[in-house]
């Protein structure tokens, strides 16, 4: 599998679809110990679960170069998401630069439920120049 290091600015990742199964949602909520979401409604999903899913979709199509660091994150939530929803994730590399031996890359993420956008975001990662290029 190629790593992020293989891709240039403008690269779009193919859409990935997910069904938010109760097993996955329960596993996520247990992992992050979210005690607030259950106060809102039994089937509402933590918004960060949607963000995690978007990043998971990216990682299923591209490995991380060794030494990758998550530098920053922007997220906008546009609608509550519920267990059982079907979501589609798309991603595009919107910037790539090099500085002091490191690549700095920003990736825009979008999560849709049908024709409705439920989340957009931008992940910024950095990794050493030359790492993961031939992986």
């Amino acid at each position: 599998m190629p790593t992020l290091a293989s891709f240039a600015k403008g690269h779009s990742f193919p859409p990935v679809s997910f069904d938010l199964t109760s097993d996955w949602v329960n596993g996520y909520v247990a992992a992050v110990e979210d005690e607030a979401i259950s106060q809102l409604g039994a089937d509402l999903v933590p918004p960060m679960a949607v963000a995690a899913l978007a990043i998971r979709a990216l990682l299923e199509q591209s490995g991380l170069p060794p030494g990758t660091l998550h530098a920053g994150q922007e997220l906008t939530f546009a609608a509550p998401v519920r267990t059982g929803d079907s979501l589609a994730v798309t991603a595009e590399i919107v910037s790539r630069g090099e500085r002091a031996g490191w690549v700095l890359m920003s990736i825009d993420l979008r999560v849709d439920r049908g024709r409705e956008s439920v989340m957009t975001g931008r992940s910024t990662v950095s990794f050493p120049i030359g790492e993961g290029v031939a992986a």
């Binding site: 994150q73 906008t76 939530f77």
Partner: protein
């Protein structure tokens, strides 16, 4: 909501969230999030990195910030929330981390908050801004 009216005042504190980071929790998150970067889960690999040991996923620690915002703003956070943060330092197994924040600006149903996450030594792990439209 009464809680939201209270939080619509500049200077109001958000209800903080404190969690203990453990390797088991990191491993569980790696499974759920599909992020199996060995920096998080492989002690031998991580020992050879600049961090000297495993670290938590940034998105795991950021989930604590989001939990705080969910507790503060309810479904408004899920439907009309926005966040922009930087990861400043890693959280490690054994760290107790606290997400906190306070309201910095309000106008016409728009509430802007400074948010952060620190470990028990006071080291800043995450800093940034969150916004909710009520």
């Amino acid at each position: 909501m009464t809680q939201q009216r209270t939080l619509a005042e500049v200077g109001a504190s958000l209800p903080s969230v404190t969690k203990l980071i453990t390797q088991d929790k990191i491993n569980t998150y790696a499974q759920a999030g599909g992020d199996k970067n060995p920096l998080h889960t492989d002690a031998e690999f991580a020992a050879r990195t600049q961090f000297g040991g495993t670290i938590a996923h940034g998105m795991l620690v950021l989930a604590y910030v989001s939990e705080m915002l969910t507790a503060a703003f309810g479904e408004d956070w899920l439907a009309r929330g926005r966040m922009k943060i930087r990861f400043r330092a890693p959280a490690r197994p054994g760290d107790t981390v606290t997400a906190s924040g306070n309201v910095t600006f309000t106008s016409g149903g728009r509430i802007v908050c400074a948010v952060e996450c620190r470990n028990s030594a006071g080291e800043l792990l995450i800093s940034g801004e969150a916004e909710v439209r009520a």
